[in-house]
């Protein structure tokens, strides 16, 4: 279980996180939704320790999270909007680097694992390619496989499809759907309402650094509790 209590983070005068508390249990798929600048990415990054918070604590399975604690870090995989693959390493090396260096896996074992994961994301033929030879969607699938190689209990996605061309969004969502159906716990910052509606177990709607609504997907999309969520949904479904 991941638990965040009373997180506060400011950028200059802007409160990106304004006393946010959240709990995510194993097996849950939680989508963070909200307008840009609402603090949803900051919340996700704070949970992973990528963002220093001014106040508040993160707990993982009841233990206080220390971002230097590699065992705790490895419980959470993280997927970035801009992939952040290592451009000078092949796909295979991108996947095996951490298992070998951090988990002290043997090279052979790491390569078997990497191949399995690449089959999972449908990219076994790209094993020797460099990231620059891949499309955006392929890069993101490699990035997901790279995170999975550390065998995390939770997967954190920070707008994984926002930097992709429209026709590539699907292939990434498909991989995420597979993961969801296999029971992976996920926290997803997304603008893909279809994904949120269909696969999430819970929706957190953020605005101005606060969680303003917490609902099941059915309630959120069909009968949102707050006016703000209603307004937001009207805006994004315009002309649909």
């Amino acid at each position: 279980m991941i638990k965040a209590t009373n997180l506060v983070k400011t950028f200059g005068k802007v409160k990106a996180l304004d006393d946010v508390s959240v709990e995510i249990k194993k097996g849950e798929i939680v989508c963070l939704i909200g307008p840009s600048g609402s603090g949803k990415s900051t919340l996700l990054r704070a949970i992973k320790g990528l963002e220093e918070v001014e106040q508040g604590e993160i707990y993982i399975d009841g233990e206080k999270f220390d971002k230097k604690n590699i065992k705790q870090q490895n419980k959470m995989g993280f997927v970035f909007q801009h992939f952040n693959l290592f451009p000078h390493l092949t796909v295979l090396e991108n996947l095996t680097l951490s298992p070998i260096e951090v988990l002290k896996m043997s090279k052979a074992d790491a390569e078997v694992l990497a191949k399995d994961l690449l089959i999972k994301v449908g990219l076994e033929d790209k094993i020797q390619a460099y990231p620059n030879q891949l499309s955006g969607g392929q890069k993101q699938r490699v990035a997901i496989a790279r995170s999975l190689a550390m065998n995390p209990e939770f997967m954190l996605f920070d707008e994984p499809t926002s930097a992709l061309d429209p026709e590539m969004v699907c292939e990434v969502l498909k991989v995420m759907q597979d993961l969801a159906e296999q029971g992976m716990s996920m926290i997803v910052v997304t603008h893909e309402m279809g994904f949120a509606k269909k696969l999430s177990s819970r929706i957190l709607f953020l605005e101005e650094g606060k969680i303003v609504e917490e609902s099941s997907p059915t309630t959120f999309f069909e009968n949102p509790k707050t006016d703000r969520a209603k307004e937001f949904l009207e805006k994004i479904t315009y002309l649909q």
């Binding site: 320790g49 590699i70 952040n84 680097l97 260096e101």
Partner: protein, 225 residues
């Protein structure tokens, strides 16, 4: 006196020996300069204000004064300081002093090159390493430095070419390299132009060869960009 009287095998060998000395000095100073540069860059991007401050003074001082002055200062100043501290005289070798002085000088420039190269790496690379549990040292060694090296290769090659040419500055403290060798021969025959032209051709050949191989290396490294 004809050209063939002056450009004898003996004289050409003398010039080539000078060229070898220039190249030797360039290789030594480049090696030490790069080591100093990596240390300087590490200090500049460290979290310690003191280390940052020391590196800044080093770079600002070296870049703000002429290299010729630094060579002369070390050559003339070092024995003086040695005598003040130990009370005895020391004879310094101009080649050794020259290499030390130029290395210190080059190190300041390389510090800035490498610092820039490291800082040009996208923040996302650091973050990806953090999310994968890679510690700082491994992140640096496996991810940041290999990419930074590729970025700084062209300016590093320029630095090396500069060192081949700047090695002639140590002639001012009595060391003989290519340019000084040409001047010595020029004085012997009362004809400087021939030997200066010969020296410039040798300099050009050396720098062109370095550029050629550097370009090849650069292309190979850029293959997966």
């Amino acid at each position: 006196m004809t050209l063939s009287d002056m450009l004898t095998v003996e004289n050409l060998t003398y010039l080539l020996n000078g060229a070898m000395m220039s190249l030797f000095i360039a290789i030594c100073t480049f090696t030490f300069g790069t080591i100093l540069g990596v240390i300087g860059a590490a200090m500049k991007i460290s979290k310690s204000k003191l280390l940052q401050w020391i590196a800044k003074i080093y770079v600002d001082f070296i870049r703000g004064t002429p290299m010729l002055l630094q060579i002369l200062f070390l050559y003339l100043g070092f024995p003086l300081i040695y005598k003040m501290v130990t009370g005895s005289f020391i004879r310094v070798n101009p080649y050794v002093i020259g290499i030390i002085a130029i290395s210190i000088n080059s190190g300041a420039y390389v510090t800035e090159l490498i610092r820039g190269g490291i800082q040009s790496i996208d923040k996302g690379q650091w973050e990806a390493c953090q999310t994968l549990g890679l510690p700082y040292g491994l992140t640096m060694r496996k991810i940041i430095l290999p990419q930074a090296f590729k970025n700084v290769l062209p300016p590093l090659v320029s630095e090396f070419i500069m060192l081949i040419k700047d090695s002639c500055l140590i002639s001012c403290i009595g060391a003989v390299e290519l340019l000084q060798g040409a001047q010595i021969l020029g004085a012997r025959y009362y004809n400087y132009v021939v030997f200066l032209v010969a020296a410039s051709i040798i300099y050009l050949i050396m720098t062109s060869v370095v550029s050629f191989f550097a370009n090849k290396l650069e292309k190979r490294l850029a293959a997966n960009d």
